[in-house]
Symmetry: C2
DNA sequence: AACAATGGGTGTAATTGGTACACAATTGTA
DNA sequence: TACAATTGTGTACCAATTACACCCATTGTT
């Protein structure tokens, strides 16, 4: 629980720095050991977990704000970040509006009103990110998509909306550049797709289709050390990848 | 040009009623005589045109706000309305921020700061809409997509983003229910698709595909009076249409 | 009344793309 | 060196899309 003083100090600062009524929440996806991960924060005061979020400075583009928030939580700058929906129910953060109502005047509490939140989702390299808690959280860490803790506020809705959007995105845009290491094998990339989509794909058809997009470079090396046939390594052809991002892929999964 | 008094009165009211910093802009599409139309407003003070817009009341869900704004401009309630992007550049409405700076104090002018605008697009029945100007506009009317006037602020960006989104939407969602009259012919529906996509489609393949979606009812009547063979009339099967909206269509154009 | 012109309704062959497999090749281990 | 597991490549089949051809209904013209 924050003390009255801590909250007053934060509120004064926030009022000076940020736009009222507007927040940003980020759903940050990572990929590790064949599992999809989401970055989450364990609240100091409450039982539940939240998505990383923040506010928009008075003179700051919203995309820059989202980037700044993400950089503060992960140490990574300039990642793939996508606006996907605004969450604007007047009651969506009532829980937080009222939390400190008995120890501090409403006018002095930055949180004591409605926030309209702009949802972003991000795809980041698991190994580059250094999860860093904010002042209201005791833990910031990756949570497995199959083992999510209870959410605070409407963050479960924000999360599921982001996941749905990501799955749809997969149908007509290439993904993976921000989630995979520089060099990877086809089965590894397939794992990523299967994890996001939540279903198995045919190994052979996946490979043919993926190569058909023309966004991969086949490298001469293979991934040795596995207990079986060594698969070839691939990297993304960044130029074609960017082009595919703009123009879209042919069809869906 | 508004007088000082008018602006002061509006500002006082607005400050009491609406959230600061947040606005809504709507791109309203209609369809008439084989042409795609957009609802636009001619400013009283300025040379350019704007999209219909408004603000969010202090306790009002944003989707309700968008609906209210649209109802005020068209008389139509409860239309197909879709959030598509937030426009959050700090300078996007500088033009309006500074407009009255010489006649009224910044603190008293509701417009004298940044607005983050939530973009919605809407598809409405051309004949049901009664374009109604707001207090800052002298004209509210449909403009042809091929003959658009100069835009104010960043409304051209908002418009083109909406159009791009609508075109993408077309690939995996049924549209038309909100744009066509109750009964229509297949060639008429095809015109709509061709207009949105900006390209010709094959008459016969269009028909087969459209029918394949199972969202149309073939009516026994034909459209008499034309100079040629009378085409059959169709109506949308609302139940299947709604289902297709949720589940999406198979693939794109 | 015959006929051309125009637009609408329906069918079909060719092509493309996706799905479901089979089989050979490679690697580490027993 | 045989074996299990996994990867690389090929192919037959089915479904969807595309590109057509042909016929029908209506109107205006002669």
């Amino acid at each position: 629980m924050l003390t009255k003083e801590e909250l007053e100090e934060f509120s004064a600062e926030a009022h000076a720095l940020y736009l009222d009524y507007i927040s940003i929440d980020c759903v940050v996806f990572g990929f590790h050991e064949g599992q999809m991960k989401v970055l989450m924060l364990k609240s100091k005061n409450e039982a539940g977990w939240q998505l990383p979020g923040g506010f928009v400075q008075k003179v700051e583009p919203i995309d820059v704000a989202a980037n700044r928030i993400l950089a503060t939580r992960t140490g990574i700058d300039d990642v793939f970040l996508q606006q996907f929906r605004v969450f604007g129910d007047p009651d969506r953060n009532r829980q937080h509006n009222e939390m400190y109502s008995d120890i501090i005047a409403k006018e002095k509490n930055f949180f004591a009103h409605r926030f309209i939140s702009i949802g972003y989702y991000a795809l980041v390299d698991f190994f580059n990110a250094i999860p860093t808690p904010d002042e209201f959280s005791e833990i910031c860490t990756w949570r497995d998509l199959n083992d999510l803790p209870p959410f605070l506020l409407d963050h479960e809705l924000i999360f599921t909306t982001a996941l749905d959007t990501l799955r749809l995105q997969l149908s007509y845009q290439p993904i993976g550049y921000n989630l995979m290491p520089k060099e990877f094998t086809m089965p590894e990339l397939q794992k990523l797709y299967e994890t996001i989509l939540g279903k198995k794909l045919d190994r052979r058809n996946f490979q043919r289709r993926m190569l058909g997009f023309g966004i991969l470079n086949k490298l001469p090396q293979t991934r040795k050390g596995g207990a079986h046939k060594a698969p070839y390594l691939y990297s993304f052809d960044l130029e074609n990848y960017q082009a595919a991002l703009k123009e879209g892929l042919k069809s869906g999964w």
